[in-house]
Amino acid sequence: MHAMPRSTARLAALALFALSARLLGAQAAETRPPAVPPSAEVRTSTEPAAAAQEAATEHAASGGHDDNDIITPHITDSHAIDVPSFSAPFVREVELPRWAPVHVGGYEIDLSPTKHVVMLLLAALIVISLLVLTARTQARQHDENGHTKGWAGGIEAMVLYIRNEVILPNVGPHGNAFVPFLLTLFFFILTANMLGLIPYGSTATGNISVTATLAAITFVVVEIAGMRAQGWGYLNTIFFWPHDMPLIMRVPMFLIISPIELAGKIARPFALAIRLFANMTAGHIVVLAFIGLIFYFHSIASGAPFLMAIAIMFLELFVALLQAFVFTLLASVFIGQVREAHH
């Protein structure tokens, strides 16, 4: 759980940021009602300030989406994707198809593809082509000279490191069955994290729905692993029934500890989901805030937030790798914990 303090701090920072922004925003809305928000400059600062002001006024008047906010569109999902363009802003929004919502038992689920769905698909395709190509190249190189080299060798080294140093020691004996799932988790999260760092990309893993689903899948895998490894003994991981205590102690202990055990079981995937989501989102908010400062300063002082944005971007690269690693590591640890008979 060594990553816990970092992500907790980040979550706290995010919450604080959101809270203060909400308060200040409410205040701002009160104090300057329909006036042209001067922050329009943020989006269009490449043009002269006056022109920008006018353009912003026009844009705001024509009723597009909120131009003041550069951060929210970047960290939230939408029904449009950004694609490269050869003309002026070098970006073009392409609307994704909207499908009619599906009704499942009273719930309405909108299955139409969103930006994050596209990013997840892209990540999946990248991972598939990369790893399948690696497997092919490796097979060919094995036939030729008995060992792997170059790019395939690097990917193979990553796979082997995760497998031999992270998965197998933590999952415990006969852990080979979990290797494909955990390796997929690592490469998929890593690629999705990285996709948020490139231009026109978006961080699907910065969306709570995605991380919650991944955590839920992990939870199911963990619990099934526990059931398969322990049989009826699996119930001991929920119901606390110490055999070495007198009955008079056993009953109150059962009543006190069992809810805690259950809460612990549910808290682990919850922590997984929140950790990944918060790390990805917070980093992007910080980077975007610094980018906003660059355009606001509009002078030589812009160099400071520019350098800071670059530094945070490097940190983000590291965090992207770290969070994928941590997710995989913790999933392995949880599987290993539930598989060994404990309590």
Partner: protein, 194 residues
């Protein structure tokens, strides 16, 4: 510098203000809730992830890990083979060394034996030569003494004959030749006896 600080602070405030509508959008719009789950996205995530696990485990991780395990097994096998080969080679070498040592010892034994036999033969031959020499000497000495004896006998008969002839000549007339002869013979026998 204070101006820069001021600008920085005001910029921070400003960004907070400008970002604010993201979290507290005007009354008419729905506020953005980052923690609100989206069922459709969850469904797609589930679908994509499960498909990814199936595809990757079938087409990527299985062959990848199998190849690595085969390589490890091959390395292990070749290491074991090399160890066995080295053991066999050293055993063979020890055997060769032993055989060489034995052959050398045998050769030395043969040389020593030959030398001893030669020495013995030489001694024997020398001894035999000496004995033969002594024998020859002895025989020669015996023959010489035999010849001498015979010569003496011969000489004595000759001398007797000559003496008889001379004495016969002297006393031819007066003496019975046989009686005289007996006389002389007796005399000679006494001489011989003395």
């Amino acid at each position: 510098m204070p101006r820069l600080t001021f600008r920085f602070l005001s910029a921070l405030t400003f960004v907070a203000l400008s970002a604010a509508p993201a979290f507290a959008i005007e009354e008419g719009k729905k506020p953005v809730n980052l923690l609100a789950p989206n069922g459709g996205l969850m469904f797609w995530t589930l679908l994509i992830f499960i498909a990814l696990v199936l595809i990757l485990s079938r087409y990527a991780f299985k062959p990848l890990v199998a190849a690595v395990e085969a390589r490890e097994k091959a390395l292990e096998a070749s290491l074991t083979q090399a160890r066995a080969d080295r053991d066999a080679a050293s055993k063979l070498m020890a055997e060769q060394q032993a055989a060489l040592d034995a052959a050398r010892r045998e050769a030395q034994q043969l040389v020593a034996d030959g030398r001893a036999a030669g020495e013995k033969l030489k001694g024997d031959l020398l001894d035999a030569g000496k004995v033969q020499q002594a024998e020859l000497l002895e025989r020669a000495r015996r023959e010489i003494s035999g010849e001498k004896e015979r010569a003496i006998v011969e000489l004595r008969r000759e001398a007797v004959d000559l003496a008889i002839r001379g004495a016969g000549k002297v006393i031819e007339q007066n003496l019975d030749s046989a009686a005289n002869r007996q006389l002389v013979e007796n005399f000679l026998a006494s001489v011989k006896a003395s």
